[in-house]
Amino acid sequence: MLMKRAMSNGRKSFLYLTFAGPAMLFFFLVVIVPLVYGVYLTFTDWDGLSSNINYVGFSNYIEALKDKAFLDSLLLTLEYVFLSVISVNIIAFGLAYLLTSGIKGQNFLRAGFFAPNLIGGLILGYIWQFVFSRVLVGLYDYIPLGIFQKSWLSSPNTAFAALIIVTAWQYSGYMLIIYISGFVGIPKDLIEAAKIDGANEGKVTRHIRLPLMVPSFVICLFLSITRTFKVYDLNLSLTGGGPYDSTKLAAMHIYTKAFENYKYGTGQAEALILFLVMAIISLTQTYMGKKREVEM
């Protein structure tokens, strides 16, 4: 109704300020101002304490790109994102398929698988730290296998695997419910028509369900990519970046760089690089996925 009336600029400003003012003000104060200021910080040598800040040109970016620990953490993050996203989505899709294939207690099971997502990454990490460092080792008494001999968190490869396992465990339950709503949204008559035409279960999935579920895939891939890129809590509580910084993901590296080593400029430059990599990957994925969506 606001739209159609002619009104004075003063009246417009009043309405804008009273309706959108508070949200815009705080959005600007905590998102836009720091974002812009952050870009400025990357061109300075501020150490968090001294009051004189010097302009240093691109040296923070050069330092970031020369920082081997940062590049390692970035590569590790890419590897972590890739493996986590694949396992999360395969498990979630498979489970959603099973859950919507007519089994009893679908709602109860769905609610159960979702449960880990109610708890923050920090606490989930502590819970699994106990499982990996104590319970699996205790299992060795019953099942004397090499993998149970020592704590998974004490060597780099198994600690990294532990991170992926916990991520897959947590997010598969989240993506599961999005895939279920995708499966439920497929019109029954389409599937029945295909079956009458002689398509078996596999063909129905391949040629009807999968193409119609592209929107679900786009959402789930976007969510799992952006969330795993930013992971910090879980990393902190499960492995703490150890052993010997071997599982330190990019977000944690940036945190340490800025708040423990007081290299704010370089840390901020590294944060911007991480953002750029994440944005390119997640937007490409969304763009490619949207192109595959089929019209109904």
């Binding site: 417009k12 804008y16 309706f19 959108a20 959005f27 294939s101 698988f113 990454g121 959402i219 809590d233």
Partner: protein, 287 residues
């Protein structure tokens, strides 16, 4: 869910039983970490370390672990802090985001279009990108950290774009403009129209937002850890972290502390399960 294949007969029924058993077993596996923490929270340190898989401690149930955990992680205080910060943040967030979304949908003023576009574009920016300057500006320069109100207002600022976006979509598709015209004719001002007609109709989207934001803010760790440095302001995740740091080897206490932070959420979940899952689906599809 009706299953079209179920009419097939005994063979299909068998497959169904196998499927159900498989999924049910998998769910048990998914729950194992929680169960392990729960059983070990009632054992002594020695029996946790030696026999983490044993159900009970021969010395009986160790409720003392819970007493220690409640005391040492200042459970009541940190629970109260978490509750206060979450509730106030969500209230502010919901009301002001809905108001902003309303004017963005109902006018074609350039300032509204620009505001909304900036909000949408900013949604992809991860917290890590603004974290360092945020601490610099509000900590080093303005000294506004160590306050619950600062955290609440920051939660508001960070959540605003997502909430405005969700409300925007809802108002555009589901609130008939004719109602507002009628209210106008009956003499309502713009603000009255919003609060008396539009806002009450936004219940479905508001409940989705409340669910998503409560989950996110209750569990948030990174932002509170940067803002709240004083122990008496700690939220539950911060308290657990400190508690864990001090009692690293005291497994009994740690397990009890973890159970204490998980249980309240699960109790709420049992009652609102349907709405929570519905809210997450609705939120995901809209974003």
């Amino acid at each position: 869910m009706k299953n079209p294949a179920a009419v097939g007969g005994v063979g299909n029924k068998l497959i169904l039983i196998v499927k159900t058993t498989f999924v049910a077993l998998l769910l048990v596996v998914y729950m194992v970490p929680f169960l392990l923490v729960l059983i070990n929270s009632l054992k002594r340190k020695i029996s946790i370390v030696k026999f983490p898989l044993q159900l009970l401690d021969e010395a009986g149930l160790q409720w003392v672990n819970y007493q220690n955990a409640i005391k040492e992680m200042f459970f009541v205080r940190s629970f109260g802090n978490s509750l206060f910060i979450t509730i106030i943040s969500v209230l502010i967030l919901v009301v002001f985001s809905a108001m902003a979304a309303y004017i963005f949908v109902r006018t074609d003023w350039p300032v509204c279009k620009a505001s909304f576009s900036i909000m949408i574009a900013s949604m992809i920016v991860p917290f890590q990108v603004v974290m360092i300057p945020l601490v610099y500006i509000y900590g080093a320069q303005l000294g506004m950290l160590n306050s619950r109100m600062t955290l609440i207002l920051m939660n508001f600022g960070f959540g605003a774009s997502m909430c405005t976006f969700m409300c925007h979509g809802f108002i555009k598709s589901s609130i008939p403009i004719a109602l507002e015209e009628a209210a106008r004719i009956d003499g309502c001002s713009d603000h009255e129209t919003f609060f008396m007609i539009v806002f009450p109709l936004m219940k479905p989207i508001i409940s989705t937002i409340v669910i998503l934001e409560v989950l996110g803010l209750w569990n948030d760790f990174l932002l509170p850890s940067l803002v709240l440095g004083k122990k008496e302001l700690y939220t539950l995740p911060l308290a657990i972290r400190t508690f864990y740091g001090t009692f690293t080897n005291d497994y009994g206490n740690i397990m009890a502390g973890l159970v204490l932070s998980v249980i309240p959420v699960f109790i709420v979940y049992i009652f609102f399960q349907k709405y929570i899952i519905g809210g997450v689906v609705a939120g995901a599809v809209k974003s």
